[in-house]
């Protein structure tokens, strides 16, 4: 299936769950990333129940705490 991940179109095997995608995409700290699926944020405790489908747009947003 085709997914758009952080703005890039990618071909990912079918029937991948969100936790599996986080591993495929080498997301370093899956429990520390804010995941947006088709404009909606997915709560951390809901990740496991999310099934991805062709055409989904996914954004991974990372904490950045620096400033000084």
């Amino acid at each position: 299936m085709k997914l758009t991940i952080n703005g890039d179109a990618k071909e990912i095997k079918d029937n991948v769950s969100l936790p599996e995608l986080l591993i495929i995409e080498n997301v370093e700290q899956p429990d520390m990333v804010s995941v947006q699926l088709n404009d909606e944020f997915i709560r951390q405790d809901e990740h496991a129940s999310v099934a991805l489908k062709d055409g989904d747009e996914i954004n991974f947003l990372y904490f950045m705490g620096g400033g000084a």
Partner: protein, 268 residues
Amino acid sequence: MKEFSDEELERYSRHIILQDVGIEGQEKIANSKILVIGAGGLGSPVALYLAAAGVGEIGIVDGDVVDLSNLQRQVIHATADIGVPKVLSAKAKMEAINPNVKVTVYQKFLDASNILDIVKGYDFVIDGTDNFSAKFLINDACVLANVPYSHGGILRFGGQTMTIKPHESACYACVFDSPPPTNAIPTCSSAGILGAVAGMLGTIQAAEALKYIVGVGEPLYNRLLTFDAKSMNFRNVNFKKNPKCRVCGGEGIKEIRDYEAVVCEAKL
């Protein structure tokens, strides 16, 4: 309304001839009050540009003193300032650039006991802090006091920023909910920061503040601008205000509390 002197008309001439700013926009800038929280990597360029722009009153908050390791990126401070309180070092440079600007210093760290009173007196707030407990505290205070602000975060070669108009656009907690556990996320002091990246992000925040004050363009509402200076790719991620947001949704928050023990070196 502000009457500009000949000196000011010349000083601000490149703003005044700028379509969408003009004399009216410069008057709005001169009548505005902006609070810069943190006089470090982000706060340095923000404070310099806001002073140069002629913001009428600038508050600057920091409880720290200048350290040698700050000087690689905190461009408002000089080698001779090592050991000097950052707010005093910053104030001196801002007044040197533009003596028309009134600079108010808060030589302290903000916490739940003092942040609301300080934030309330300003038209716009800049988050230039270096830890999550401070970033979430600022978000809470700005939402409660209904003061718009610019979130900024930097790490290594990257930066992120969004502008928040409380109750109208998504807030920081709509996107990130709550602070990560202590030491879960690398910091600039543990993982490093390219000095110029602090300047890139800080000047974006200064531009957002001035756009808001003048009322021009489209602020970074409901979107997070992220960039990676290695690839020099910039991206906007769009989102909406979360109706179930812990801070600004539904019932929302009613009072300020410190995010204690979230980051071991909690400081503003």
